[in-house]
Amino acid sequence: MSQFATIRDIRDAVQSGARSAVDVCTDALARIEAHDGTLNAFNTVTRDQALAQAAAVDAHPHRASLPLAGVPVALKDNLCTLGVRTTASSKILEHFVPPYDATTVAKLVAAGAVAVGKTNCDEFAMGSSNENSAFGPARNPWATNRIPGGSSGGSAVAVAAGMTPLSLGSDTGGSIRQPAALCGLVGLKPTYGRVSRYGLLAFASSLDQIGPFTRTVEDAALALQVLAGHDPADATSAPEPVPDYAAALTGHAKGLRIGVPRALVSDGVDAAVSKAFNEALDAYREAGATLVDIELPYASAAIPVYYLVATAEASSNLARYDGVRYGFRAPAEGGPGTQDDLRAMYGRSRELGFGHEVKRRIMLGTYVLSAGYYDAYYLKAQRVRTLIRRDYEHAFEQVDVVAMPTSPTPAFKIGERTSDPLQMYLADIFTVSANLAGLPAISLPCGFTADSLPIGLQLTGRMFDETTLLSAAHAYERQTAWWKAQPPL
């Protein structure tokens, strides 16, 4: 079985006893060992725990019915893991060891998955390139001088490099879908409320969602099946019934209505991305889908709305990092034997503990929530957010899914955009509106540039209708072989 085996292949082999979970896990750890020095996908590798979990799967009395039997999984380092440090790639949490597992982590392990470690990401999931990490950038396996995307960069790299067939990321404005696109993977952001966020370090609570990176759409369906469902520990998780996702994958696009917001996708998109996107639409048409031109008139305002709402929520959520209950506390400024006053201790701990992008967003969020500016920025952004939601509601009266490129450009070079945060933010144009509207969205491979850099197609679906979304994605994937490509490691 190759390093690029799917979840389905591994699960079937472990369930039937053709392979042991320990054998699969040993291979995954060897692959990480071989390539992580270059790629920097992992902040922490949990070798001993992984082998113990794998042995437990092999000894499990119901191994044959574990839905993810022996499947190695990499976890974004903003998901709490009992007894395993969870840093959010921040110095302020460098030594934080959670006393509990995130619900998603517990569910995966209960389903037979084997957690091999915690992946690199932008600090507190703030970024689109994985360059805002206290542990250095992760590198794209397709071109190691380029970014893998972000913020869940390490999770994308782990799957793209054949280290694991599954990883978890979090997506607040595209942080699963954009790195999936840039690394040639399937990345799914489920509906807001579909998956429990208990144990996810909060960035922007009205936008954050956890989801999987996989190589195939079917694998995404298998992972979502385990992750989805109501959790009493997360009051925002939804009591909606969870359908059988894999059963909905018919491979057919006949009768599918695909909305294309032509005006939105006509500007500022790289030529190779545009070409691959249009070819994907052609493939859908040939497979019997109907393309419908739609208008999303307010989607062009999604970036400013997103950066006003997300930073406001972040400034509030990150107030908890104060050097008291957990995390880094700055030593007293006067040296040993002296003591800062309380406010100075807060200010210095946060100054030394947070990186530049996190501080920038805390500053912006604090400003837009402050007296005199709240109405003009935060409240105004929330009103425009309503208009963006309505755009999609109108679109879904005519269509089943909306198609866009995932990212306007392929992976850029490390360091190319770090000096201009606004330019970096603009790259999120096609992904942020799904978060603002709470909708499920998926990125899947749809081609390569002339330099062999992956390109992603994004589909967005109705609230809680991951079934149609996955089915539409699967129909395209079945006609193409992009997902089979492997990076030149």
């Binding site: 009493p232 406010r343 100075a344 920038r360 402050s370 425009v384």
Partner: protein, 99 residues
Amino acid sequence: MPATFSRSQIEAIAALAHLRLDEAEIELYARQLGEILEYANQVQNIDTTGVPPTASIGARHDADRADVVHTSLDRASALANAPDANVDAGLFKVPRVIG
């Protein structure tokens, strides 16, 4: 709305956020926050008359649970990550607040 921020404005925002900044950061954020907000100002041109704000998607108001005592984090675990704590007394420690 300011296109650039003054030093004192940046310091006032940082104070609200309990964030100390060094000289270079004050200059950097004065410029960058101005640029980002200038861009974000395009939302001001959108007519939102009569449009209600969206604070959250699908917010549920029926997420109550029964008021039943259940096991919670034990004290030692809760204190284990504290940079300074008196575990025996069960206290987080902070610098002296009252003279």
